[in-house]
């Protein structure tokens, strides 16, 4: 891990934000991912933001086809992929045009100058080359003929011209690896593994990678040679993980801890499909996956499996949750464990399928007909998706209820170092299948009531195959206890009340709510989901600047933690940044009559900490000073 090629001349930096941007076909996601992994193995803290178009291959060279990957690496604990990039790698004019505005003033632009020819310039909408006019005035510009240098590096390998040209992203990776003194081995090893059996591709990619690295060393880029030391993270073993993988592993861990097999019913949808892919790999854990004919069948099959004693799971995004609504309502009525995982994206309708948003909170809370309460929990960072998945399964099984677990596109694809938990320290989950009759009938014989409740108001999970516990369940209202069909008015009121009470009871099992920052501040930032990173970044900076600020981040949206109302009432200002138009804000106002101020954003991009600080200042100023 320590073959950090000659770091003696490198200047120390505490962090850097790099944005790789290119055409969808240029392999920018892979380049960013490789740089990230090398940095992770080197020991930096980091956070990433993949940012790609919905089209698999939008027309080459156009603005619509630009695919970018932003990563912040640092020698200390960070929570976001950073505000403005310090370095922009632009593989073509379109990438420069679309992403230059994000670069910090005076930042560094590295361009593949070979692509700045008439056709590409025209496609990007440049009349004249930005390399020749004052477009890039004020920035440090490093022009590198990456395509021709890549071809040159590959020329003796017997690789076809087109294939050689494709390796230019590895040239860029090599160059950036030199600039930031990244170890080379992880990438070289990865190339061997990834392209095993394709010797020519391995050769070309390695040649391009090494050529990029050598270019940095020889082309007098000395003042661009930096070193970012490993971060002093908590001791432990780490891996770099994205949200969807962490979530899938959390589900597997939950099944393992509950000793209950997992069953996933799913229909492919961006950005959730990777969970289906990941779970499909792990059949040796007894995980069954069914790619269903549609979203409704996906949740239906999951519910069928839950009825059979498995943990029924379904993974989707907003459009799928909308379709699953009726079946989720059935699960509410059947009182069976079921986990609905919603990896949110921009909506409504197809919306922005590859861009992040967190606008399904109301859908999760209320998106069913009738009074159909269910628990809603939200993951807040890529690695924390693991814990969130365990928690969703715990609640589903313990309280015999469908649970909605919210994540989003940013968490799903973003990655960060994760200190791997010790398996022995994971919580256990008790399935407690019913095995015995729980009643005696009029004739004095043992009988079974499917809706007899335990101390959590949960009903028995009596699975087919268990002798003596045969019973019927259904969507028609049933009598509490016996489970027999009942149209009795008072019973419907009672069942409606008890379905709500059972969900409310979950709050008793939650750990005390953590108030981060200054508990005695006037201002409290309240968040949920993936805004945690940006809010935490903002809080850290505000406090470093001498401002007092408190932070509460909700993992449980329904039921809300018992003490939340009293806590919020202590603050003069409760400000709620959300990746939607103020959905939690409305819930808070309705629940607690707290005058919460919304900071909404639906631009397909997460908040940055800097942006939040400005908007918090504006929002609190507008609402008047302390009361």
């Amino acid at each position: 891990m320590t073959d950090v090629a000659d770091s003696s001349t490198a200047r120390e930096l505490s962090q850097v934000i790099i944005r790789f941007a290119g055409d969808s076909g240029d392999g920018m996601q892979l380049t960013g991912d490789r740089f990230t992994n090398a940095s992770a193995l080197f020991g930096n803290d980091l956070a990433t933001l993949p940012d790609f178009p919905a089209e698999i291959r939008a027309p080459a060279g156009t603005l619509a086809g630009v695919s970018a990957f932003q990563v912040q690496i640092s020698d200390h604990d960070i929570t976001t992929p950073g505000d403005a990039p310090n370095v922009l790698v632009a593989m073509n004019p379109a990438a420069l045009k679309s992403d230059l505005g994000r670069l910090e003033p005076g930042g560094t632009v590295i361009v593949n100058e070979d692509t700045f020819e008439d056709r590409n310039l025209a496609k990007a909408g440049y009349d004249t080359s930005p390399l020749d006019d004052d477009t890039l005035g004020g920035y440090t510009v490093i022009r590198v003929p990456m395509t021709s240098l890549t071809m040159e590096a590959c020329k003796d390998l017997g690789v076809k011209t087109r294939d050689a040209e494709r390796s230019k992203n590895f040239f860029a990776l090599g160059l950036i690896s030199w600039m930031y003194t990244r170890p080379l081995e992880p990438t070289l090893d990865w190339i061997d593994k990834k392209f095993a059996g394709k010797e020519l591709v391995i050769g070309a990619n390695k040649a391009a990678f090494k050529a990029g690295h050598a270019y940095g060393e020889t082309a007098e880029l000395g003042e661009h040679h930096f070193m970012i030391r490993p971060a002093a993270l908590e001791p432990g073993t780490y891996t770099n993980i994205n949200g969807n993988t962490a979530l899938a592993w959390g589900l597997i861990a939950a099944g393992h801890q509950a000793k209950v097999p997992l069953f996933l019913g799913s229909y492919p949808i961006t950005p959730a499909s990777d969970i289906l892919h990941e779970l499909s790999k792990h059949k040796n854990f007894g995980v069954r996956t069914l790619q269903a004919e549609d979203e409704i069948a996906a949740v239906g099959a999951a519910l069928g499996a839950s009825y059979g004693g498995h943990i029924g799971l379904t993974t989707t995004s907003g459009p799928g949750v909308a379709l699953k609504g009726e079946t989720i309502g059935l699960a509410v009525s059947l009182e069976l464990p079921l986990v609905i995982i919603d990896i949110q994206r921009g909506g409504p309708s197809t919306g922005l399928p590859t861009k992040t948003e967190a606008s399904d909170l109301m859908l999760a809370m209320y998106g069913r007909h009738g009074e159909a309460p269910l628990p809603v929990i939200a993951a807040y960072s890529p690695a924390q998706c693991f814990e969130a998945a365990l928690e969703a399964v715990r609640i589903a099984i313990t309280y015999r209820t469908p649970v909605v677990l919210l994540s989003d596109g940013y968490l799903a694809n973003g990655s960060e170092p994760w200190r791997l938990p010790d398996v022995a320290s994971l919580p256990t989950i008790e399935a407690n299948y019913a095995t015995e009759p729980n009643q005696v009938n009029e004739d004095g014989e043992p009988s079974f009531w499917p809706y007899q409740r335990d101390e959590n108001l949960a009903r028995p999970w009596a699975i087919p195959g268990t002798p003596g516990l045969m019973h019927r369940v259904g969507g028609i209202e049933k009598q509490d206890g016996t489970g027999n069909i009942s149209y009795d008015p008072a019973n419907h009121q009672h069942m409606t009340d008890i379905r709500q009470a059972r969900i409310d009871k979950i709050a008793e099992s939650l750990p005390p709510l953590d108030v981060a920052g200054d508990a005695d501040a006037d201002l409290c930032l309240l968040g949920w989901g993936s805004t945690w990173g940006a809010i935490t970044g903002a809080v850290n900076r505000m406090r470093a600047g001498g401002q007092k600020v408190a932070q509460i981040h909700l993992t449980h949206l329904n039921p809300l933690p018992t003490e939340l109302g009293d806590l919020l009432r202590r603050f003069d200002h409760v400000v709620v940044p959300e990746m939607n138009m103020g959905q939690l804000t409305r819930i808070i106002r309705a629940e607690y009559l707290v005058d919460a101020i919304s900071i909404p954003k639906v631009m397909g991009q997460p908040f940055t900490a800097g942006e939040l600080i400005e908007r918090i200042a504006a929002a609190t100023a507008a609402s008047g000073g302390p009361r």
Binding site: N37, A40, H256, H282, L290, G309, V423, T466
Partner: protein
């Protein structure tokens, strides 16, 4: 997961399989005779009540599970063929029966039905076809004939109906049969075959809704016409019908099934029924014979072929993965990507 021991199937009677719930179909409804047929048959199937599940959607037929003293789920409209594969995949040892009507399974649940059949999960689907919406009080259904006057089609339906057998064969279902509510023995024979079949089995049951579509099948299933109108398909036999077997079915030059007089064409010209034909085309041709009201109508098993069954194929993949990789090791999974240590 408990599995009932193979050896100790307790002796049961119809009474053991019936619940104490009051049956709430209209008096005279064909559903009663289907329920009785099933409750009388199950004690002989060599199965236990705890290992039997009935899953239904919504509609008159869908009340069925409440009357069966087994495990059961009365789910939501159209979704029984979507929910039941999940149960069967999770618990391959459980017998899963899916009950629904023509609206439930061919309209709102049509997509699930064809995919359940295509996927070939080992479930037994009984489709009670009364060609009407009963529970919503008398609208036309996806099997109602063109011209049908109902509350929602006061000027007559202009909607072309499905032929459920054709739909199932089009989906390449591995088992497709038809029976009717006036013949308990025949129903039981079909249900038994469906149960024995390893794969998705669809049995269409002609069912009379005496309230909203009374007599829909009178022209073919009434005692006095049955002999002339029902074509009883028998595997390996030339297809003949009529009181003296005087009529039969032959394939014409285009491969279409046509009704012929045996006296005209001779027995050798008749189509010999092959339910095990891997190609569904001839079975499909047979299903078209009755594509209209009042025409001679085949009943019996149209198709019964061996095809890989989905639930066992899934279980086999799990077993293979466990044999190859050993049971899941959570620690190893968490460490399966590159890791680094911070001390």
């Amino acid at each position: 997961m408990s599995t009932a021991p193979e050896t100790a199937i307790p002796v049961t009677t119809k009474k053991d399989w019936a619940t104490d719930q009051e049956v709430r179909w209209c008096p005279g409804c064909g559903d009663y005779s289907i329920l009785t047929a099933v409750q009388l048959m199950l004690p002989d199937l060599g199965v236990t009540r705890e290992n039997t599940v009935f899953i239904s959607g919504i509609g008159c037929a869908a009340r069925f599970p409440y009357y069966m003293n087994t495990y059961g789920m009365h789910s939501i409209h159209g979704r029984a063929p979507a929910i039941s594969p999940g149960l069967k995949l999770a618990r391959p040892e459980i017998d899963v029966w899916v009950i629904g009507g023509d609206g439930d399974m061919l309209s709102i649940g049509g997509n699930h039905l064809i995919h359940a059949l295509r996927r070939n999960v080992n479930i037994n689907i009984l489709l009670f076809n009364n060609r009407i919406y009963g529970l919503t009080k008398g609208q036309y259904s996806p099997t109602s004939e063109v011209g049908k006057v109902t509350k929602s089609t006061p000027f007559g339906s202009v909607d072309a109906p499905f032929n459920p057998i054709s739909v199932a064969l089009g989906a390449e279902a591995s088992f497709v049969a038809r029976t009717h509510d006036m013949d308990r023995k025949h129903m039981q024979a079909m249900f038994r075959r469906a149960h024995a079949h390893q794969g998705a089995a669809l049995v269409e049951v002609f069912q009379n809704c005496n309230v909203f579509n009374d007599g829909a099948y009178d022209t073919i299933t009434k005692k006095d016409v049955r002999g002339h109108m029902l074509i009883d398909l028998q595997h390996g036999e030339p297809i003949r019908f009529g009181p003296d077997g005087e009529r039969g079915v032959a394939l014409d030059g285009r491969g279409l099934a046509t009704i012929v007089d045996v006296a005209d064409v001779g027995v050798d010209a008749l189509l010999v029924h092959d339910e095990a034909d891997p190609d569904p085309s001839v079975a499909f041709a047979l299903s078209r014979l009755s594509n209209g009201v009042g025409r001679p109508t085949p009943i019996g098993v149209f198709r019964a072929v061996d095809r890989p069954e989905y639930a066992s194929a899934t279980s086999a993949q799990l077993a293979e993965a466990q044999a190859a990789q050993g049971p899941g090791d959570l620690h190893a999974l968490l460490h399966s990507q590159p890791t680094w240590d911070v001390s």
